[in-house]
């Protein structure tokens, strides 16, 4: 039980069963979960058609890439976006096996693409090792002239 009889929530869980509510809105399996593909989700800023809220008549387009680096980075940004939106969904629906399956596929793909990116353009995270210490001098996100 999360809340006591006075309505104060109990900060520490005491029993494993504390989380097994008789509430169905979050725990029911969502096998019919509908999601956009990577590029559609990214340009819309929303992975879930059921939540998409268009503003006026704006039809968002995929950002244009000026360089090969931008193109490679966009693929990572698209994957990171869908991973992030699935992450928020899974926080509330941890038992949705279908969503987690897609999440795992995207994470694997992201790791692969990130490794390829690192070899050519330098590290995106401090833990990505390259021959030299490139962390400080590969472009920072706010250095638009170097992207």
């Amino acid at each position: 039980m999360l809340f006591d009889t006075d309505g104060f929530y109990l900060a520490e869980k005491k029993y494993k069963d504390d989380y097994d509510f008789k509430v169905s809105i979050l725990n029911e399996p969502c096998s019919r979960l509908k999601i956009y593909d990577l590029s559609e989700a990214f340009k819309k800023g929303n992975l879930f058609p059921s939540l998409y809220d268009e503003y006026k008549c704006y039809k968002p387009e995929l950002p244009k890439c000026r360089t090969e680096r931008e193109k490679a980075l966009l693929e990572l940004q698209m994957l990171a976006f869908s991973i992030g939106d699935l992450n928020l969904y899974l926080d509330l629906h941890p038992n949705d096996a279908y969503a987690y399956q897609i999440f795992k596929e995207y994470v694997k793909e992201f790791k692969k693409k990130k490794e390829c990116f690192t070899k050519v353009y330098g590290p995106l995270t401090l833990g990505s090792l390259t021959d030299d210490y490139e962390w400080s001098y590969s472009p920072w996100p706010w250095e638009e002239e170097r992207l």
Partner: protein, 188 residues
């Protein structure tokens, strides 16, 4: 612990300077409904969430918002980069320039600096989540006003993206709020 990922969540390609838009957009960095306030709000509130759903959702949205704060700051930097002193004066950014030059500082569109009083952390899950839902709606409205003021598609595209994130976050917070409300009723 936080680890930095050396990329923006959404690419920016702003070619034309626009000082007026810079002055408006900076409000989503340091304003009452901005990304910095959002990040700090959920970061502070995550410590009083009662279960794994609340802890993870607030932690993860706080993290996403910090990335958005960096994106907004980068937009402002791009929009003022090549500005002359006369152009800064004309756009009403001369007082900003006095204190900050062309640096980035969290203020709102009227020049009011960021303050922690833009958000609350009450230790009460319903009060906090109600605030979070309202905060996402206010941020969405602010993004719509910015989109209405903008004419450059290179500015509108990232604003549409960020606006849509507020829509998603609102729905997730509402879902969590309804869930806690139902479990409270079940425990009575």
């Amino acid at each position: 612990m936080y680890k930095y990922f050396k990329s923006l969540p959404y690419p920016l390609n702003i070619k034309c300077k626009d000082l007026k838009m810079a002055k408006y957009i900076i409000t989503q960095f340091g304003g009452a409904n901005g990304e910095l306030g959002a990040a700090l709000r959920y970061f502070s509130q995550k410590f009083s969430m009662p279960d794994d759903k609340g802890r993870s959702l607030l932690n993860d949205i706080a993290t996403e918002e910090l990335g958005h704060a960096e994106m907004i700051s980068t937009m402002v930097k791009m929009l003022i980069k090549d500005a002359s002193l006369d152009e800064l004066k004309e756009a009403g950014l001369d007082s900003y320039y006095t204190e900050h030059g062309k640096g980035i500082y969290p203020i709102d569109s009227s020049g009011v600096p960021f303050t922690a009083s833009y958000f609350a952390s009450t230790g009460d899950v319903f009060a906090d989540l109600s605030e979070d839902m309202a905060a996402e709606q206010k941020a969405r409205a602010t993004y719509e006003h910015l989109i209405n003021l903008a004419t450059d598609p290179d500015i509108i595209a990232p604003l549409l993206f960020l606006r849509q994130r507020e829509v998603v976050h609102f729905n997730r917070f509402k879902e969590l709020y309804d869930y806690y409300k139902k479990s409270l009723n079940c425990s009575k």
